[in-house]
């Protein structure tokens, strides 16, 4: 049976509907994910550190998949806001990936249960230990934190469900008015999502080090989020194509995906550089605290790896036209950037949890000499790089990722991978990239 619209043959039903593959993926991904999470938790218990490393790794994995979902929503909203055509061929992927916020809210429960272990501001004594910290209590307190997270995830879930549901309904009845409504609401929804992408960075990353101050961190976090989906999109699309789906996605569409990826890799580097150079130049303790631990030892290696791997190499790799137009090459760069984006979240979150540990905080040095400080800190800040810790981090990524993938395939199952009755679909198929 062929699926066609406006006399354009889009392919067979098997190329557009995931009828057989989705349940299989759900089963395997879900199973592997749950098993990995259990294994990670058991390993975490074996460390006898009050599950600190497990929670730390779990938070990193959660943030990575949250970034994927929120940037997918950003992409869907941008599609409607810009009245774009080309992205129609991959819009359904964005809609499915973005519909994971309820799952993410459930997966956030372990973090809430272990808040006292990883968020130092949950300790009253800690917050009373300095005048600046005392002033932050109005914002950094447990009930308000839970309320904020509930609002953020609730709003994101509502927007993403609305956009997917209307899009699927439009497939059934073909009413253009539904698309017009999505287009109309895309403006304020886009604004709300951008705000949440920024503000949630304060809660998930900045608040791990309550003494740290930098004005651009929310934007840096949001940029990292945006990179995630644009790196994942060509990878997901190509995987689907290898399984025989979406044959109509061609090099013109990959070229556009590549351009978005390139733009966000550049923008990430721009914000990261702006943050670093101003903190380095200003040399104010409340700001340099963040980079202090990340400029020495193995963390320094990761910092340098981020500059090279998250910016320099993909910059050179993606700047030309041809890598963006060759799906295989673009998939390579997509995977590459995803790995480094995970590393970026790892680098932001994991040392932060240990920097606040009692041993580091009570180190009898001025804090100006990082080598002395680290020496007396009993190498606590290296903990996330211990092989066992790395294994827990890997298992958490597989665990959260497995459940995330399973749910995404549940959403994709039996639903068309193309918005078949979108009037801009013919334009999307005929798009030519410059």
């Amino acid at each position: 049976m062929s699926v066609s619209d406006k006399n354009i043959v889009l392919g067979t039903r098997e190329q557009i509907y995931m009828e057989r593959m989705a349940p299989r993926v759900m089963k395997y991904a879900g199973g592997i994910g749950i098993a990995a999470l259990i294994a990670a938790a058991l390993l975490g218990l074996a460390l006898h550190d009050s599950m600190k490393q497990f929670l730390c790794s779990y938070l990193t994995a959660w943030v990575f998949f949250f970034a994927l979902a929120v940037s997918a929503l950003w992409f869907v909203l941008a599609h409607h806001l810009f009245k774009a055509a080309w992205s129609n061929v991959v819009r359904r992927i964005g809609e499915a990936v973005s519909n994971n916020f309820i799952l993410l809210a459930i997966l956030f429960i372990p973090i809430l249960l272990g808040m006292k272990v990883i968020f130092p501001w949950t300790s009253h004594a800690f917050m009373m230990s300095g005048s600046e910290l005392r002033h932050k209590q109005l914002f950094l307190n447990t009930p308000f934190y839970i309320l904020r997270m509930a609002i953020y995830l609730g709003v994101l879930a509502a927007i993403s469900i609305y956009y997917r549901r209307m899009s699927l309904l439009q497939d059934q009845d073909g009413h253009v008015s539904r698309l017009m409504r999505l287009q109309k609401h895309s403006g304020w929804c886009f604004l709300v999502v951008c705000w949440i992408m920024n503000l949630i960075g304060v809660d998930l990353v900045m608040s791990l080090q309550p003494k740290w101050l930098t004005y651009v961190e929310p934007l840096y976090f949001a940029t990292g989020c945006a990179v995630t989906f644009f790196a994942a999109l060509p990878v997901i699309t190509r995987c689907f194509q290898r399984q025989g789906f979406l044959p109509m996605v061609n090099k013109e569409h990959y070229h556009d995906m590549g351009k978005w990826l390139f733009a966000f890799v550049m923008f990430w580097a721009y914000i990261g550089f702006a943050q670093y150079i101003l903190i380095w130049y200003g040399n104010v303790p409340k700001e340099t605290a963040f980079f202090l631990f990340r400029q020495i030892g193995p963390w320094a290696a990761i910092s340098i790896a981020l500059i090279i791997g998250h910016f320099l190499i993909p910059f050179l790799g993606l700047i030309s036209r041809w890598p963006k137009r060759r799906p295989g090459t673009l998939v390579f760069w997509g995977v590459w950037v995803l790995v480094f984006q995970y590393l970026d979240f790892f680098w932001q979150i994991q040392p932060a949890v240990y920097e606040q540990s009692q041993k580091v905080q009570s180190a009898p040095v001025s804090g100006l000499d990082p080598y002395k400080l680290l020496g007396s800190a009993d190498k606590m800040v290296w903990m996330p790089l211990h092989p066992l810790s790395l294994l827990i981090s890997l298992l958490c990524v597989v665990g959260v990722g497995g459940v995330f993938v399973a749910h995404t395939f549940y959403l994709l199952a039996n639903k068309s991978l193309l918005p078949l009755r979108d009037p801009r679909l013919p334009e999307a198929l005929a798009v030519e990239s410059i």
């Binding site: 406006k6 810009f82 009245k83 055509a85 005048s131 600046e132 910290l133 005392r134 002033h135 932050k136 914002f139 253009v176 698309l179 017009m180 287009q183 109309k184 403006g187 604004l191 951008c194 705000w195 920024n198 304060v202 101050l213 930098t214 004005y215 651009v216 961190e217 929310p218 934007l219 351009k259 733009a263 550049m266 721009y270 914000i271 702006a274 943050q275 150079i277 101003l278 903190i279 130049y281 200003g282 040399n283 104010v284 409340k286 700001e287 979108d422 009037p423 801009r424 013919p426 334009e427 005929a430 990239s433 410059i434």
Partner: protein, 477 residues
Amino acid sequence: MTTIEIPQTRLETGYDNTAEDCINREPLITGEATYHAVTKIVCATPEARRAPKIWYVCFTISLMLLCVLFLTIAYQVFTGVGVWGNNSPNAWGFDIINFVFWVGIAHAGTMISAILLMFRQRWRTGINRFAEATTVFSVLCAGIYPAIHVGRPWFAYWLLPYPNIMGDWPNFYSPLLWDALAVGTYSTFSFLFWYFGMVPDLATLRDRAKTRTRHTLYGIFSLGWRGSARHWKIYDRGMIIMGGLACALVMAVSSTVSTDFAVSQLPGWHETIFPPYFTVGAIFSGFATVIALAIPARHLFGLKDLITERHMDNLGKLMLVLSSIVLYIYLIEFFMAYYSGNIYERFAYYNREFGPYWWMGWAMMFCNGVVPQALWFKKARITWWLSLPIALLALFGMWTERFSIIVTSIHRDFLPSSWHMYSPTIIDIGMFAGSFGLFFTLFLLFCRFLPMVAMSEVKSILPQSHTHLPEDCKDAQ
């Protein structure tokens, strides 16, 4: 013999092409959308024997203001920078406020030409030339300030890192040097970009010239353009490469300007968000300028079919986006000042909104963050008497923003005994007014003698330029 039927769009002038329809894309050009009609509309002003009367009135006023600029500069150079209102603790005042203000305006042209080019926004062809001209002229206005600020402008070249017999070099750690290099590069590049894009249109004017002088002058500046396939290939490739480079430059220039302040340790200045903050603010003020200039120009010079309501609608939407980002940054600044828990950090923002310059702080919030929110409504975007005041208020708001950042942060030093108000002198004010004279003199000359709209680029978006595309997709071009 096979004949190709060339589709043509014939619409009424003033046709509403702003519909938000999902099925059809509205045409970008109204009226008679043929190659000849585009040439006729754009060449009408440069080829006219006389400009509209209002042009002469505006040009006379601009020239008078330009004289004020020359006189104030001469007075300042012969007397010294003491003629300005700068004094401790207000070491910086109008000089750098106005520099940042003009550099900001200079961002729209390259933004429209480069970033919108990368986004395949074909509507930009109606306004890109225009916007690029504002870029070139406002960079010139900005460049005046650092040049005369050095006190002895004849030694301004000391800023450049050149080998000299004294073996001394400028301080490479100084953001003022970065600034000079960034703005210098940007001005050179934006001039080349503007000129390079204009070459085919200058050749059109040359070919249509009816006098020897015009033919010779346009001939010299069109660099022997013949419109051959080879020329077009080089041209297209050049524009894409320059567009790509310009994208990076747009981001770099205001970011570098922001480091003039942000590398210090002063609360209100030392913020890691400053580079994107300045860049967004700059593009915002640039778009406000383009709207403020496009509205009278399309009425005066009969460009309503090329700069249509859809252009104004899109410009309004972009301004709304930028205003929302600016508002986000203002609010994040307040939040972070609170979050810091630091009394000095908090005081800087308290003082901005409730100190002696409170009206500046609120004006920037109101003009940049609140008023442009009216652009959510289509009526405000396409009705000139609504969008023009919004754009002008935004420009005023962006000036107050620079004043708030610069003066409000330094006028109350750490020691209350060092608190002093800043008041500009008549020379400061005259120089600022004069810079508008320079801008408008150049801009009016551009409108009179050069093609205001990129003819060749507009022709490339007409339906007849895409006869090979399937019928469904032609509207989209």
